[in-house]
């Protein structure tokens, strides 16, 4: 428990400083978080859920944290240029964990009652929202990073959409890591959708300078009755980046969520999604892509909890692993007693391009209801050699045919993205990635 002890010490010694840099509900939960963290500690390889990703070891180095909230002077407009043609989004930034709106977003009139702001600011100005939702989903009563994150998190973002409000324009949150030294960041994102509301949210995760980064990010999503959310999470960081991201998603009746978790470029990544159907008639489309090479590692863990009847979940995760990169996927679907008429489909397909690349896949289905339609499946294989030769016979060179087959393979997942400009962009980014033209991230001038 040496890594844990270190963080407990830092926390105890800096408690006042941490509180000073944050507010309200965020500070109110810290005592409980400390208690949970002391009890459960960091997740490690000895745990079933973290079998292939030793998250604890990532925390062992003596990381610096910017608890004193020194201004890192990130000029977003200068550092980041997101060229998404036809995708006009309202752009927001989290520089490490400091929130900022782009000029356009800052001047735009959001629909009545919609709040997009710093979480710390929200904790002061909208306590009725933050108190009601912050930390309500993130589960600290288990080994994970939720407790540690709750101890240290000082800021992040709140997106609040009131009942009946439709946010037409997509919101884009660009998270940028930039610091003159190696840095550990703990940030929070809170997304609250009222009844019958609609929102499209795109999160792009980037690392600007070539320092080592470790980030924990806890995102809590409340989808109210009849609401509709499209949520896309795209990671384009670098090889020295360590990311632990937990999503906690709660769906009330008749809500619809479409998600896509894309790891385009990274170092080592652990994404967890804990989702719960709380009301009947809801739908979840949970998809993901991971493209890895070198020594990269991507671990996606999903837990879909069919607690009530008449809900539909479909999952499709695809990985393409090159060099000696590794991937892991564990997908658990739990259909509880009484969750009749559940429809659930889970698929994980993977291609290992080399003998050194490794994929670990673990689909799990637990069913305690008798009138359900559930299926799951997983495959690990190589590119289809017959198809490659067929293409070569038609004059398409081997390298090009490989590209086309890989593109087609992940294209099935991209095809599920209903936001068309994003779909086009993803196709282009994926192609660039396969062609090796995306050694770092597309949007960062710093990498060029």
């Amino acid at each position: 428990m040496s890594a844990e002890k270190n963080y407990i010490d830092i926390f105890s010694q800096n408690r006042a400083l941490i509180d000073k840099g944050s507010a309200g509900a965020m500070n109110a939960l810290r005592d409980k978080a400390l208690e949970c963290f002391t009890r459960y500690g960091l997740p490690h390889k000895g745990l079933e859920e973290y079998l292939h990703t030793d998250v604890r070891s990532w925390f062992e180095p003596d990381w610096g944290m910017n608890l004193n909230r020194i201004d890192m002077h990130v000029d977003q407009a200068q550092a980041f240029k997101c060229n998404v043609p036809n995708l006009s989004t309202l752009l927001y930034f989290l520089s490490n964990d400091v929130f900022a709106a782009s000029d356009t977003a800052a001047n735009v009139q959001l629909p009545q009652g919609v709040i997009v702001c710093s979480l710390r600011e929200a904790a002061e100005r909208h306590p009725e929202i933050v108190d009601a939702y912050y930390g309500r989903l993130a589960d600290m009563e288990r080994p994970g990073v939720a407790a540690l994150n709750t101890m240290f998190a000082q800021d992040g973002m709140l997106v609040y959409v009131p009942d009946g409000v439709v946010v037409e324009k997509a919101l884009q949150l660009v998270t940028l890591l930039q610091s003159p030294v190696d840095l550990l960041t703990n940030r929070r994102i809170l997304v609250v959708l009222g009844r019958q509301s609609q929102l499209t949210l795109l999160l792009c995760d980037h690392a600007l300078a070539a320092n080592k980064y470790l980030t924990t990010q806890i995102t809590e999503v409340f989808a109210g009755e009849g609401s509709s959310l499209k949520l896309y999470d795209l990671e384009e960081t670098h090889n020295a980046n360590l990311r632990v991201s937990d999503y906690y998603i709660s769906q009330e009746a008749d809500s619809t969520i479409e998600t896509d978790f894309v790891t385009l470029h990274n170092g080592r990544t652990r994404n967890s999604v804990y989702q719960t159907f709380k009301g009947q008639g809801s739908t979840l489309s949970l998809n993901g892509i991971a493209i890895t090479d070198k020594e990269q590692h991507v671990d996606n863990m999903t837990f879909v909890d069919h607690r009530v009847s008449d809900c539909t979940s479909s999952e499709l995760f695809k990985y393409v692993l090159d060099d000696s990169s590794t991937g892991a996927f564990a997908g658990k679907v739990l259909v509880r007693h009484g969750a009749q008429h559940t429809e659930s489909q889970q698929t994980n397909r993977n291609i290992c391009l080399t003998r050194e690349a490794r994929m670990f896949t673990q689909p799990q289905l637990e069913i305690y209801a008798d009138d359900v339609k559930c299926s799951h499946g997983a495959t690990v294989g190589q590119l289809d050699e017959k198809a490659m030769f067929y293409m070569q016979q038609r004059g398409i060179p081997m390298e090009e045919s490989r590209m086309m087959l890989m593109q087609a393979f992940v294209g099935e997942v991209i095809g599920k993205v209903s936001l068309e400009p994003l779909r086009d962009r993803l196709n282009r980014l994926v192609e660039k990635r396969f062609r090796g033209e995306l050694s770092q991230c597309e949007g960062c001038r710093a990498c060029r």
Binding site: F389, Q392, Q393, G395, I396, M404, L405, E412
Partner: protein, 254 residues
Amino acid sequence: MMLKIENLKAGINGKEILKGINMEVGAGEVHAIMGPNGSGKSTMSNVLVGHPAYEVYDGKVTFKGKDLLELSAEDRSHEGLFMSFQYPVEIPGVSMTNFMRTAINEKRKYQGLQPLPPTEFLKLIKEKREFVKLDSKFMNRSVNEGFSGGEKKRNEIFQMAMLEPSLSILDETDSGLDIDALRIVADGVNRLKTPETSVIVITHYQRLLDYIKPDVVHVLYQGRIIKTAGPELALELEERGYDWVIKEYEDSRK
């Protein structure tokens, strides 16, 4: 000379299957290669188009004056060699249009030409599609995915029409085809035929040769061409089977 094969010895996994093939195909000629199962017909077509699983142990193949065996599979295609597959491969996620555009433009790149402008490409697709009576709906579908047996073979001929090869190898094109589909396919091949292009029809049965008339018929047996004659040989094989040719060959070796 379109194709000249000299003492070709080839096989798979170190096992010699072709044991010294000699054959010449002139421009404008149609050759049929017939033979019982296991005689090496598929090996021969695969070796010619450069399938990576097959190994060449000896011999020489000259295609339009070039050393064919020195070329990569894609360059053989660019030089004008085409094979209609016995089992066309399904490629999920790659649309016919994208597949054809890439193939055409790779060939043009090889020839030092600019990519075909999109409008011209679409015009070409339409023309060739109508040529083999392939519905436009297939163009947006993934290559061969969900195509019936007949549609797959028609798609092969469509691709042949698009790429305009000098030498086409039809590898058991008749297998799994009903008579109507067979006619359409054969009709396509015949209409694509010019005095400058040649065809090698590899088939087990005479049936296809009723529609695609060969100039020369070869019998392949145990990796060797044991008899070469005119089109009448195909009819005779249909009537009498292969046994008499094999016997004739074995007697001659005694």
